[in-house]
């Protein structure tokens, strides 16, 4: 899956297009500014686990996963809305969460590896 528009809450201009600008305006920049520390969260895959296993972000946030294991892993939404290719060691996967919700995901090779991304305004 390709990366969605590179919108980071709090980062104006850049690659953000008109649609992103409108979405940002609708979702309210004030809310994003209140939570600046979760702009570009990074999740490590290490020892067959997601760290952190649970995060909360605002709509439009790009989340990055990096595999630090010697074993390939995948990122698959429980409802299949997003699915990475198999990630070998140090491979990265990015997904931008556009709308609110609770997004459970797992590794399709090791389904006991689970995580969740909460998207809240």
């Amino acid at each position: 899956m390709t990366t969605s528009p590179n919108y980071n809450a709090g980062a104006h201009g850049g690659l953000a297009g008109l649609l992103t600008f409108v979405l940002a305006t609708l979702s309210g920049l004030a809310g994003a500014v209140e939570t600046p520390s979760i702009d570009t969260p990074s999740i490590e895959i290490t020892k067959f686990a997601f760290a952190p296993k649970e995060i909360t972000v605002v709509p439009g946030t790009k989340v990055t996963w990096t595999n630090r294991d010697e074993t390939p892993h995948t990122i698959s939404a429980a409802d299949k809305t997003f699915l990475s290719k198999a990630m070998d060691t140090d491979d990265r996967y990015e997904y931008t969460f556009a709308s609110e919700g609770d997004f459970s995901y797992f590794c399709t090779l090791h389904p006991f590896m689970t995580g969740i991304v909460h998207v809240r305004k």
Binding site: K47, A49, A86, P111, F112
Partner: protein, 323 residues
Amino acid sequence: MTASNDSKPDSPADPTRRKALNCLAAWSGAAVVWTMVGGVPRALGATGSGPVAAASARAFTFVQISDTHFGFHKDANPDIVGGFRRAAADINALPQKPALVLHTGDVTHLSKPEEFGQAKELLQEIHIDRVHTVPGEHDALDDGLAGYLKGFDHDGKNRAWYSFDQGGVHFIGLSNVLNFKLGTMTSLGDEQIAWLKQDLARVSHSTPIVMLAHIPMWTVYAQWGWGTADADQALALLRPYGSVTVLNGHIHQVLQKVEGNIALHTAMSLAYPLPTPGQEGIGEPGPVKVPAGELGKLIGTRQLTIVRGKHELALVDTPIDHA
């Protein structure tokens, strides 16, 4: 290591079996010889501790290899190809040429076309015409089984399960590496179980059955996904048969379970060892780095022999480092 979940606990009256299990528990690396009598394995001895019963000239023998992970090049085994070639040489040197080779999955590490290509070439270095595989989850990345089936579609039906008859044995290959769902173990799926029922309908109950599947067909360790959620449905179809041997891979170590006439065995990998189920101090089922000189004792091959008329099936697990 123990034969966990073994529904047939060690019998004090069968000290040889206990001894063999102890060999396994000690990771001794010695080849352990199993004989199946009426579906119940008994240890005949270990190669390191005394004479091994030779296969009869009339016997039908075949080889199981597993988890070659072609394409893996990390510290746990930087020379997968070298190790495979030593195993191939061992198989080629067997005094009685095996009739076929069974590969119980994870042929490749990352399902890459070049890895499948390398696998096809390397498997030809085993001088046995017939090599049958089942897919591992590492063979089903990204494109499902499309890449795997380009090289390993054994009956031309574009699916990963099949059966065939050879040497009086009914062989069944199954795929249990596609149906992963969040938080659960893998499964065979209803379509495959329905096919199995149909396939067995024409097989007499006196025919020995050898079934292959990558992930163990019993729950070795659910926390690591080492089991198949609907395995019981498949095994129920096999209960009427007098001799059933299920060969699995995935967990890179030798474990066994016996349920009536059904004996289930996992095999060593030819790539790298994995921890024992829930091994203390490890916590996850990733490649285990062992000291130099130890790796060759923890990866290897298996020879199986069926002696016609004796209802015996012998298993010899041989690490690539052996006397």
